[in-house]
């Protein structure tokens, strides 16, 4: 064996230490561009390309605030739950962002644990914000209130509407359904399309998830799988910005499982009937990446989607006249479901004032127009949707996207309590079993769902 003198050992040790010192910025991630800069850190759910696309938003913001440098961090994730887990990891690592893009799915989790309420800022800049609230349906604002405080200002939303393939309708000799069509009308449309379709065709395709899954079918029956109540408080918001509205309280509370109510059972029986008749498939798990392709090649007749899908269909080469959008059918009522997104200011941020300026810019006409220059989401500002969908790209009845809020005032966000991930998991895993085991299997499936939801809500 080669002998190593003490001097050589010390030299090797010294080399090792020197190497470590030289590579320290790499080891600690300090050489990542922007890290450690004194900048407002904005985390959003998306890819590096999405972050790059936000550059024009940053540029616009910095024209107004040249003294506030902004750093966008794009965080990729499979779904919102995955995104939140990564944000939480950043918090645990001691490098939380200042402001985070949060969708309805995580809104209450953030409100309860991580976000800073913006009531004081809103009240301070009330005069400046009045035109924003005048342009925004209160249902969207309400969805970002939690226990009397406001945590976010919506800068995009998507209501679950019914997209339909006009070729499939024409082939079946069907006309656009009435706005107040019923569930039985829906069945008739499905059966007629099925009868006239060649080869593989599915009248209704849906995904098993919180948005656009079973929830719209529960909402139109004025029910849900969780109890829904309103927290007290919030008067400061309604009296100041929506004086003509009946005060809506301090935000939604979804605190108990309610999978066994008669109406919930009834809605699931409708879905069970739909699947057993072959009008709808067993719901696909996940995000439904294949749906654009199936819909655009005419293999699917109807599917739930929001304004975001216009861009997807356009990218897939579908012409504006090859599809259209309408409301969900009526059961007991015609309440719709939506999900919204907006920025939340982190409790831990030392740049709250700058974060507030960013939030305000993103909901301004200029900010919202820059952030959504393409029809990838409906806009909370009523006035901007005409330009977004009524121009070159968009279905004939694009007004449906916003009218869903205006015509159906009870339309509400998807049920997303702070335990959203566990609740969604408890819902999703029981849906298929509930609707595929025959009419008698519905109640049995919902009993299991009720048990799982109770466990999810109880926590430990």
């Amino acid at each position: 064996m080669v002998d190593l003198s003490r001097r050589a050992a010390l030299a090797l040790l010294g080399l090792g230490l020197a190497g470590t010192a030289i590579s320290w910025p790499r080891l600690t991630g300090g050489d990542i561009p922007g890290r450690g800069d004194d900048a407002l850190t904005v985390a959003l759910f998306g890819t590096a390309q999405d972050a790059a696309a936000r550059q024009s938003l940053v540029d616009g913001f910095q024209k107004l605030h040249p003294d506030i440098p902004v750093r966008i961090i794009a965080i990729q994730g499979q779904d919102w739950g995955n995104f939140f887990a990564k944000i939480l990891t950043m918090v645990a690592a001691g490098t939380p962002p200042d402001i985070v893009s949060v969708a309805t799915e995580g809104s209450q989790l953030f409100a309860e644990r991580l976000a800073h309420p913006i009531d004081e800022y809103v009240q301070r800049d009330a005069a400046e914000l009045q035109e924003y609230f005048d342009d925004v349906n209160p249902s969207l604002i309400e969805s970002f209130m939690y226990k009397g405080n406001l945590f976010q200002l919506p800068d995009n939303f998507n209501a679950a509407n019914m997209y339909y393939n006009t070729s499939a309708f024409e082939r079946a000799g069907l006309e656009r359904p009435r706005d107040d069509w019923s569930v039985e009308d829906f069945f008739t449309v499905g059966r007629t399309m099925q009868a006239s379709a060649p080869g593989s065709f599915l009248p209704y395709f849906w995904n098993n998830r919180l948005w656009g899954g079973v929830v719209p079918w529960l909402y139109i029956n004025d029910t849900s799988f969780l109890t829904e109540e309103k927290a007290p408080g919030g008067d400061w918001m309604w009296s100041k910005f929506y004086p003509d509205e009946t005060p809506r309280g301090g935000g939604y509370l979804w605190e108990n499982a309610d999978a066994l109510s008669d109406r919930t059972v009834e809605s699931f029986e409708v879905l069970q009937r739909m699947v057993s008749e072959g009008i709808a498939a067993n719901p696909a798990q996940g995000g439904g990446n294949e749906l654009v392709s199936l819909f655009s090649r005419g293999s699917v007749g109807m599917t739930p989607a929001g304004g975001f899908w216009v861009k997807g269909l356009n990218d897939a080469g579908l012409g504006d006249d090859e599809y259209d959008v309408t409301y969900f059918p009526k059961m007991r009522g015609q309440r719709h479901q939506f999900g919204a997104g907006g920025y939340a200011m982190m409790q831990t941020s030392e740049r709250k004032d700058e974060a507030w300026e960013w939030m305000k810019y993103c909901i301004s006409v200029e900010g919202m127009s820059i952030a959504h220059s393409q029809p990838d989401s409906s806009l909370p500002r009523r006035s901007l949707n005409a330009e977004l969908y009524g121009g070159d790209i968009g279905p004939k009845h694009w007004e449906v996207f916003y009218d869903t809020l205006d015509r159906f005032p009870t339309t509400g966000p998807m049920p997303a309590p702070p335990q959203q991930a566990a609740v969604e998991s408890a819902l999703i895993k029981n849906v298929v079993g509930t609707i595929t085991n025959g009419p008698n299997g519905v109640r049995r499936g919902l009993e299991t769902m009720q048990r799982d939801l109770e466990l999810a809500l109880k926590g430990r």
Partner: protein, 317 residues
């Protein structure tokens, strides 16, 4: 496969002569230092990235921690909770059931194919089969599962399209409990048997041809030769292959996560999926760590049992 050297020879290689006399001459100080210098990178890497996380997980299992709040000591609370949690229970049962079927299939398919590939055929064809059968292993499990989810789609998948040619109706491969289990199993075995197959190729190649010739002279052919010659002589390889296959199968995650997300219901939920969901969806890192420890103990227990049983079933020549 079998002992290459006699025990005495091996001992001669590993035991320095001075140890025989009871006196051990210390290596020069420089040599000892050099040993540590070479070992240091591995030891530091192992320490930082294996031992510290292992110890951390063990400690975490006794705390309730959601990343945001400070950890709260709960003693064995997490273990009590996991025992009472029906999803955890089902996921472990699923995992064990999956391991039994998947590993059996994996070993059987790999051995059968290895025997076929080792039979008489042109060398280029043998090389082709070896590469082709190993190929699925180098693919990403997530990508494979995604493609398979399209193939097994109930309404628009190619599998049902093909079966439809024979009058078979649409099968809910991924939406019925039985169908989903079959698909997860098939995808996993298809993707993983390649490594076991290579092990068997090596094991079979090491069996001396003379043994087969001698057994033929004794009248052993076909099944009898396989049972009395091939199987005993390949049994050490079988032990290694089964240990590795079981450890790997007990940790199955990618395939059910992408194909079914554990559904329908909990039908394809596995232990590692529950660890992931507890930690990263429900932010219950303590419970996740506790489940991880139980799974590790299960793996150790099964492996120990395999080695113990191997004394009865493995033939070392």
């Amino acid at each position: 496969m079998m002992a290459l050297q006699s025990p005495t020879a091996t001992r001669a290689l590993v035991v320095p002569p001075e140890a025989e006399t009871g006196r051990r001459k210390r290596a020069p100080r420089g040599s000892r230092l050099l040993v540590w210098v070479f070992l240091a990178p591995t030891l530091i890497g192992l320490g930082l990235f294996s031992f510290v996380p292992i110890i951390g997980s063990f400690v975490l299992a006794f705390f309730r921690w959601d990343i945001i709040s400070a950890p709260e000591f709960v003693g064995v609370g997490n273990f009590v909770d996991l025992a009472a949690n029906p999803t955890v229970r089902v996921s472990f049962l699923n995992t064990v059931g999956f391991v039994i079927v998947a590993v059996t299939l994996q070993l059987a398919v790999a051995l059968l194919l290895a025997i076929l590939v080792q039979s008489r055929m042109p060398e280029w064809l043998r090389t082709f089969f070896r590469s082709a059968l190993f190929f699925p292993l180098v693919l990403s499990a997530a990508s494979v599962s995604l493609v398979m989810s399209y193939l097994f789609n109930q309404e628009f998948g190619l599998v049902n399209e093909f079966l439809g040619l024979f009058g078979v109706g649409n099968i809910g491969w991924l939406t019925t409990g039985f169908g989903a289990k079959i698909v997860v199993l098939l995808v996993y075995v298809w993707q993983n048997f390649g490594f076991t197959f290579l092990l068997f190729i090596g094991g079979l190649a090491a069996i001396p041809r003379e043994v087969y010739e001698a057994s033929s002279l004794d009248g052993a052919y076909g099944w009898s030769q396989f049972r009395n010659v091939t199987l005993p002589l390949v049994s050490p390889t079988m032990l290694v292959a089964s240990v590795m296959a079981i450890i790997s199968a007990l940790q199955i995650f990618d395939q059910p996560y992408v194909l079914t997300r554990g559904g329908p219901g909990d039908d394809t939920r596995t232990a590692v999926m529950v660890i992931y969901e507890s930690a990263f969806q429900q932010l219950d890192f303590g419970l996740a760590a506790a489940i991880g420890i139980v799974l590790t103990l299960l793996i150790m227990l099964v492996t120990a049992a395999q080695f113990r049983l191997s004394k009865r079933f493995v033939f070392y020549g």
